[in-house]
Symmetry: D2
Subunit: 345 residues, 4 copies
C-alpha cells in the first residue's frame, strides 16, 4: 500500500462509506477514523458491514499524520478545522459543502458566511468528469454534492457540445433516498413517517443549485423529492434547446463526452426491464447512469441520470478524486459493480 | 338503499376498489360483479379485504339489470360492449380511457381507432371539480385518468383565475405506484425488479396528456416515473407564468376554486412532517391534496398534488361522479379519512 | 351522538388512531384531545389524515368532563393519573400496560413496581373475544397489548376446546411493524437503519408474555422480530399437542370459538394469493385473521394470526371494548374493511 | 487467470449472481453464459449491473469446454444434462437441488424421482463450514440450499459441541426475500401483492428440511415466511436442549466451530443498532452472521442466523466451494463486505 489515510467524522453515513472503501483499497492504508460521539468504539459498532475491520474510533482532537485526510464532517466544520487538517495531511479531501464554491459571493448567496474565504479559490472542486485536469497535486479537494453531481453529470455533454449555452430554461426534478438526511434523524426521518413518501423536501432553493450555477453557468429550476429508497439520487432534467436536436445529435454529444469515462454509462432506451438510468442499478457503485429521450411535440429533451448519493454523490467521488490527485489508477478501490436484483438500497 | 349497482371486470385492482366502495355505500346495493377469469369464485378470493362480502363473480356474458353499471375493464372493451352495458343500466360509469376524450381526432392522436366515435360527444368526462354541472342525468360517464386527474386538480385554479392561459410552458413530473400497472404483472412488475425503483416508465408521450390538452387546453411536457409505493400519484407541475404572481395570488386562486370542494385539501407549507401534498396521507381516500411554492429567482411556481390513483384517480372518482349523477350526497360512501402512520400503501 | 369522549396523549400514533376512530364514530362525540408537546396545534398537524377535523390539542392538565376518557399515554402515566382520569370520566379506557395484569406479583415480575396495585383487580382486561362478559359497566378497561392480542386470538380456541391445557411447549415467533416503536424514534428507528430489517428486537423475555400467562395460563417461548412494515403484527405459534389432532378437529375448534365473532376471520389454506393470515390484508381494520396448518411429521400445529397492531392491537380494540362497555353496537365506528392492493401499511 | 468457467442458465437471478462473481474473480475467466430465452442478448440486458461486461448469452445446446461449469438451472435440469455438463468440464458445480441429497430414498421422500440416482453418492454437498474436507478434487459439487444453509450454519456448532444430539425438538422460523421466487414471477410475486407481506409461504413441509435431516441428523419443525426484502434469509431456531446451557457454553461452542471460518461472523448482543444477525448487513456478501440468546425461564436457546440467499445461500457458496475444489484461496472473488446503510436489498 502506497499511502496512509484517515477519516474525520467516521461514524456518519458518508464517513462509513469512506471507511468501507479505504479498508478495501489496494493503495491506501486506513490508519485512523475519528468520531466525537463514538470514541473508542469499534467502527463495526456503527457500520455492521465493517465488523471484520480491526479499528476503533479515536477522538478528533488527536489527528495522526497521514498522506490523505478525508473529512466527512457536517457543513461548517471543515472551514473551521482546515488548518489542523492541513497540518495532518498533504492532501485534504473534504466531503462537505465548505470548499465547493469558487467565490465568497456565491457562497454567501446560498450559505451563511465563510470563515476562510481566501481558500475557496485554492480548493479544487471534484467532479472528475468536469475537471479531472485540476486534481493532480491539489491540496484541498472539495467533493461535489450529491444532487449537483447527478445534475451536472446529466447535463455536461450538452454544454460541451454546445446544445445548451446556459440561457435556457431547465427544470430539474430530483428524487433522493433517506441516507441524504444523514445518520440519527428526527421525527421526519423515522421509519413510519419516511416510508413510502413522495415528499417535496426542497421544493425550491436547494443549495446544490449553487454548484450547478458555478460549474455549468446555468440557473436551474430545481426541486427535490424524497422517495422510498435509502441510497440513490435520480435527476430528471427537462430541457428546451433553442435549436431542434435529433437523437443522433444527443448520442453524439453524450458519446463524445463520456466514451472514455470509467464511471459513466449511457443507458437510453433499448429493451429489457432497465431501459433508463436507475438508482438501484448503481447502488454501492461509483457509476453514474445517464440517458435521454426526445419529446419532439414539446421541443423537449428529457435527460435522466442516476447515482448512488453516497458513492458517486459523495464518498466514491472523493476516493476517485484522491486517486487522481495522487496518480493512482482512477478506478482503484471502486470496482464493485452493484447487485441485481436488489431492492431499495 | 336506493340504487342497484354492478361491476364489470371486478377481479382487477380498480374493480376491487369499486366493489369495496359499493359494498360499504349507504345508497347502493351491490348486486353483481363479473370476471371472466374468476367466474364462480368469491370476490374475497381476489380481494382479501372483502372476504366478509357474500358475492361470487359471475360471467360477464350475463349482465343483470341495474341502475348503475361500473365498467372496470381494460381499454377497448367498453367501446365494444357499450350497447350491452346500456341495455343493462341507465347509467354507465366507465373507468377506462374509451370515452374520456371529446373528439375522435384527439382519440386517434393518442390511441388506436375508436369503435363508436359518435358516443364521444355524448359521454361526460368526470372530474367533478372541473365539470360537476355536466354529470346529473348523464348516460355515460367517463371517469378521469389517474395521472391526468392529479395534474388537472393541481392546475385548474390557475386557469380559472387566469394565471395560466394555456400558452405557457408547463413541465409535469409525475411519480406513481405499482398499482397503476394493474393486477397480474410481468417481469418488470415483479417484486424484485419493481422494488425501490425510480423508473422513467413514460419518459414522454404519456396518453394522459390527451385529457389535459382536452380539458385545460394545455400542451404539457409530461414525464411519469414509477417509484416504490403501491397506491398513489404525485404530480409536480413546474410553471412559468407570463406575469409575476405572489403567494397571496396563489392562495386566493386556490381558495377561490376549492373552498367548497369536499375532496380537495390545500396543503402548502406550514409546520410538521407533512408540509406538502403526500400520496400516503390520502391513501384509501378520495381526497386530493394540493399545494404550491414560489421560486421567485426563476419566476417559477411549483404546484404539488397528491391522490390515491385507485380512488380519486379511478374508483373513488367514479363513485363520486355516480353520486352526483343520481343526486346522492356527493361524499356518500367516500368518507374514509386515511391512516397515519402508514407505509407505502 | 350519545356519548362524549376525550383522548389523553393524542399526538402519538395510538392517540392519533383513537382520534381518527372517534371522529368518525356514530355514537361518540370527540370533545378533547390532549398533548403536552403539541398544545394548541391542530390535530391535523400531527396526523395528516385528520386535517379536516377542527380540533386543537389542549394541555393535559385541564381535562374536560366526558363519558369516556381514552388514555394513550406511555406506560406508567395512567397509574399515576388514574384519579384525575376517573374524576373526568365514568369510564376510563387505558391503552398502556398499566392495568392489564391481574396481580401485583405478575406486574412486578415483568415491570417495575405499581403505584396503585389495589386497582389491578378492579380493572378489566379487554380482549373481547376472551372476556366480553366482563366489560359492560366497567370503570377501568385495560386494552390488551398488540403482540399478546395477536397470540391470544390465535391460541384461544385451542384452550376453549381443550386441545391445549397450558402445560405444552409453545413457541411464538412474532413479526411486527415500526409503528410499535411509537412516534419520534431514535437512531434504530430511522428510515435508513429500520428499512428492510429482520431484526430480533425482543429475542426473549418480551413483556407481553405476562398477558399470555395471565389469561391463557401458558408460559410461551416468545420472540419478536421487527420487519419492514409500519402497521401489523403477525404471530406464528408452533404447538405440539399431547394428543394427535386432525384438521377437522382444528376447524371445529376455531369455528366453535369464532363463528359469531364480528372481528375474527378464519383464513386457512384455500386458493389465491392470500391463503393465510396477512397483516396487510387487515391494515386499518379491527379484524384479526386466524389460520392454521398441520405438520403431522412433527406432530406440530402451526397457527397464524395477523392484526393491525394499532387497531385490533390497540386503538380499535379499545373502541370495541368501549362499545361493549356502554352497550353500543360492537362494530360501531370500526367498519372499515381495509384496502387491496396495499403495500406495507 | 488460472481457470476458465461457464454459467449454464445465466439469465436468472442466481445465474446473474454467478456471472457477477466470475466477472470479478481474480482466478476465473468467464468464457460462456447460456440462456435459452435470451440467446444473443448481452448479459447486461438481463442484469443491469453487468452492462460493462462484454458477453452475450449463447444457446445452452453448445457448451464450451471449460475447467468449471456452474449450473444455475431449475430443479430437474442438471440431472438430465449432467453427462453433457461433465463432458464440458472437469468440475461441475450445480446450484439446484438435484444432487444435494445423499440417497435416492431421501430424494424421493421430498422430490419426485431422480434420473441418475447412482450419482447422488458421488456428488459432494457444499456447505464448506460443514464439509470443506470433501471438496478438493470433487467432480460434482451440489451447492447447499438457501434456507437449509441458514439453518445449518446456525445449528452446526451445537452439534459439533454436543449440545444437541438430533433428538431434540427444534422449531425453525425462516424469513426470506422475494428473490427466492426467482425471476419472472406470477401474480403472487407482483409488486402490489408481494410488498409488505408477512406471508407463510411454506407453513410446513419445506423441501430444505431434507438437507437438514441429511447433514445434521435432525428433524426440524420448519416454517418459512416471505417478508418485504429482496435478498436475504434469516433463520430463527428455537431450541430446548436436554441439559441446561450457559452463555459461556454457547460462546465456547460457536467460537470453537467458527473461530477460523472466513465467512462466519458471530453477532450476539452488544450495543448499537445491529445487535443480532441481520440479512441487510450481509446483503451482497458471502458472510453468514450467527448469534444467540438464552431464555432461562423456558430452558430455551434462540439462535439467529442471517445470510444473503443469493450469495452464501447460492452463488457465493458455489464459488466458495469451487475455490476450495481447485485449491484457490477460499475468499477469492468473495471479498465484498456489504453496504451500510442499505435498505431492503
Amino acid at each position: 500500500m502506497s499511502y496512509t489515510a484517515s477519516v474525520v467524522g467516521g461514524s456518519g453515513f458518508t464517513g462509513g462509506e469512506l471507511l468501507r472503501l479505504l479498508a478495501g483499497h489496494p493503495e491506501f492504508e486506513l490508519v485512523q477514523a475519528t468520531s466525537r460521539s463514538k470514541t473508542k468504539k469499534t467502527i463495526g459498532h456503527s457500520h455492521p458491514n465493517l465488523r471484520h475491520v480491526d479499528l476503533r474510533f479515536s477522538d478528533p482532537s488527536e489527528l495522526k499524520s497521514v498522506d490523505v485526510l478525508f473529512a466527512a464532517t457536517p457543513h461548517g466544520i471543515s472551514m473551521e478545522q482546515i488548518d489542523r487538517f492541513q497540518d495532518a495531511a498533504d492532501t485534504v479531501v473534504d466531503l462537505s459543502a465548505d470548499f465547493r464554491l469558487p467565490t465568497e459571493e456565491l457562497y454567501d448567496e446560498y450559505y451563511d458566511g465563510h470563515d476562510r474565504p481566501e481558500l475557496l479559490e485554492k480548493a479544487e472542486y471534484a467532479l472528475p468528469e468536469l475537471n479531472r485536469e485540476n486534481l493532480p497535486g491539489a491540496d484541498i479537494i472539495a467533493s461535489g454534492g450529491c444532487n449537483a453531481t447527478a445534475t451536472i453529470v446529466g447535463l455536461l455533454p450538452l454544454f460541451e457540445q454546445d446544445i445548451l449555452s446556459g440561457d435556457e430554461q431547465v427544470v430539474v426534478d430530483v428524487k433522493v433516498g433517506s441516507s441524504e438526511g444523514g445518520a440519527g434523524g428526527g421525527e421526519a426521518s423515522s421509519h413510519p413517517e419516511r416510508s413510502g413518501v413522495v415528499r417535496p423536501y426542497a421544493p425550491t432553493g436547494h443549495r446544490h443549485e449553487a454548484e450547478i450555477e458555478a460549474f455549468l453557468g446555468l440557473d436551474v429550476s430545481f426541486t427535490v423529492h424524497a422517495v422510498d429508497m435509502i441510497r440513490g439520487a435520480s435527476a430528471t432534467c427537462h430541457i428546451f434547446p433553442d435549436e431542434p436536436v435529433s437523437k443522433a445529435d444527443l448520442w453524439k454529444s453524450y458519446r463524445g463526452s463520456y466514451a472514455d469515462e470509467p464511471f459513466v454509462e449511457l443507458v437510453a432506451g433499448g429493451g429489457g426491464v432497465y431501459r433508463y438510468p436507475e438508482p438501484k442499478a448503481v447502488a454501492g457503485t461509483n457509476r453514474a447512469e445517464v440517458g435521454f429521450e426526445l419529446d419532439p411535440a414539446n421541443r423537449r429533451v428529457v435527460v435522466f441520470s442516476a447515482i448512488d448519493n453516497m458513492m458517486k454523490g459523495s464518498a466514491g467521488q472523493a476516493i476517485h478524486a484522491a486517486n487522481i490527485a495522487l496518480g493512482i489508477d482512477e478506478t482503484a478501490g471502486l470496482e464493485f459493480t452493484g447487485l441485481h436484483p436488489v431492492g431499495a438500497p
